[in-house]
Symmetry: C2
Subunit: 352 residues, 2 copies
């Protein structure tokens, strides 16, 4: 109904702030992988401190049958934001990079778009002009690159791009830019019978393409911003589903608890985020009875990753905004802020 | 956006065809339970024959590593329609009975509805007048009884009703009117690493209330017709979700494969249904490569349950319509029709 493309969190500011676009396409996908846990300790990439301790404490009090806060295994649900919580979001959401880089292929199939804005500008490669694209222009780009194809075609296109695209700073596949400590937290929770979900403002179909390989999270446990599909039949009678532009779920802000209710149907016990877009998800998680874990990743490590956000007196990065108000709420309500700089010994698997 | 109440498959004909309403409220819930499998054989309530054999053959060829049709456990998805496939749907969908029986409680809280149609007519108990209610009237009843409350309030109300309501024919809780052979099929598939889902035209939130207890299917594996929710804060700052009347997913007909894509994100290998509303789900399931199981329950047992449907030359029951065209498609495409009369030794757990 609402002709909004099935992506989110995107604004003109995102594009304005980020003109390190279009990294060279080359090479093969090497997904990040977590080393097996050793006897030397759980969560090995976490420094000893309150963040690591909060995870241990939470798991202990929800899995120990002798305490009142014990939770039966079928009720153990943990939710994770993706961009900025599980992988790098700065300076631009990976899915937005994908959409911009898909424009030449879309225009090759639909040559009538070649001289039509905003496609003409994206094809020109003129960054100054691209920076002036309106939000409506960006929506047109998202609609053209994320809808109108069958679900299988989309999956194949996204998979191929992920195998070849490279982040301009690390010169690695985007799927290697996942945070090793969070992979360990995901695994540790699953080892304790937690069902782990991604609850992302990004496109549900996009994240589902790689979530199982990269995070060990199957497609059905990825909740994201979702558009509709349309069932139809090919000439030979074979049924197919086409991705359309109707927005069913804008999985940001209040949309996160709403999406959790729609897709999971019960309140999580643990929630991890990194921005104001995750606030309602953490509040909803925290409002349940018993032990709850609410954690926020603070991007305060300019050397190893990035540092950004008003809560640190830094400029608003336009992605993953961590406001002072969010920081204050975390302090007041006992949420744990994870300092990338201090709480994580290692950021990426490829660092060692 | 579309102000349609989050239920489905309901039409004026449903109401017209069924005036055995409002069974007495008494007693306690005794959920149907399946006996443990014994060495005497798997699927004990199934008669030997093509239907039972089709299930065995499918499981064998998808779980035997030595054959090309082997499927790795994480890809094993099986989907089940609910009304008429897992439990009794005739003469009226249980959820519609729920909505009608909830009207007095809704009016008690909102007395201004007492003299307003269609509530006045439902309160009167005048069945002839109720039979004349329009589809728009029924939508008002669904909206009033399924929306406007918090998700916790709805869950508590539905749970309480299920504990006390009785089916007028068997004088038992509706949750005992589940088909024992299908409980065995669910368990057998799960024992072979299949993840079992309900994909129902009924309300997702309604079915989630009892699916785990009755079918062993957790809330997150129930896909159904779904309305939106609205996140908000109480005066004390506590967040809550209110069920609203916006229809997000009409999980019938083409909506079933669309719902499967939205909520599961991959194509099932096995699908069970009983009506034209399940046709596209079975087609979508069958269109994948490799071994597939497509089964349709035929209600042909007037003595032990009900017999209805044009495919048997019987009147259209208005619920779970099984047309001749569906029967022909099943024959042509190798779907298996389950005869309740011939393929099921026992219908309900309480029969023995």
């Amino acid at each position: 109904m609402s002709p909004i493309a099935p992506s989110s969190g995107i604004s003109r500011r995102v594009l304005l702030s980020t003109l390190v676009l279009l990294p060279a396409l080359c090479g093969l996908l090497r997904p990040a992988s977590a080393p097996a846990q050793t006897s030397s300790g759980l969560l090995p990439s976490w420094s000893d401190g309150p963040a690591k301790q909060a995870i241990f404490d939470f798991v202990r009090v929800t899995t120990d049958r002798s305490v009142p806060s014990y939770v039966s295994p079928e009720d153990r649900i943990a939710v994770f934001d993706q961009d900025g919580t599980l992988w790098v979001e700065h300076p631009m959401y990976t899915q937005v990079v994908y959409c911009l880089e898909r424009v030449p292929a879309v225009v090759a199939k639909r040559p009538e778009l070649k001289n039509v804005e905003p496609f003409k500008t994206v094809l020109s490669g003129n960054r100054e002009a691209m920076a002036k694209l309106s939000l409506r222009d960006l929506e047109k780009i998202l609609a053209a690159t994320l809808t109108g194809m069958t679900v299988e075609e989309f999956n194949a296109e996204a998979k191929k791009w992920l195998e070849t695209a490279r982040d301009p700073r690390w010169k690695r596949p985007y799927t290697e830019l996942v945070y090793q400590p969070m992979l360990e937290a995901l695994r540790y929770l699953r080892d304790n019978a937690y069902k782990t979900y991604i609850v992302t403002g990004g496109g549900q179909d996009f994240v589902r393409v790689y979530a199982e390989k990269v995070y060990g999270i199957p497609p059905e446990q990825v909740v994201g911003t979702a558009g509709g599909t349309k069932f139809g039949y090919a000439k030979d009678g074979m049924p197919f589903l086409t991705k359309d532009a109707k927005l069913l779920l804008n999985d940001n802000n209040a949309g996160k608890p709403e999406g959790i209710h729609l897709m999971i149907g019960r309140r999580p016990l643990a929630a991890f985020g990194n921005s104001t877009g995750d606030r309602q998800m953490l509040e909803w998680t925290g409002a349940g009875a018993g032990a709850r874990l609410k954690m926020l990743v603070l991007h305060d490590d300019a050397a190893r990753e990035y540092a950004y956000g008003p809560a640190q007196g830094l400029p608003d990065s336009k992605v993953g905004t961590f406001t002072q108000a969010l920081y204050d709420e975390a302090e007041k309500d006992g949420w744990t802020v994870i300092s990338m700089k201090n709480d994580w010994k290692r950021i990426f698997a490829f660092e060692q």
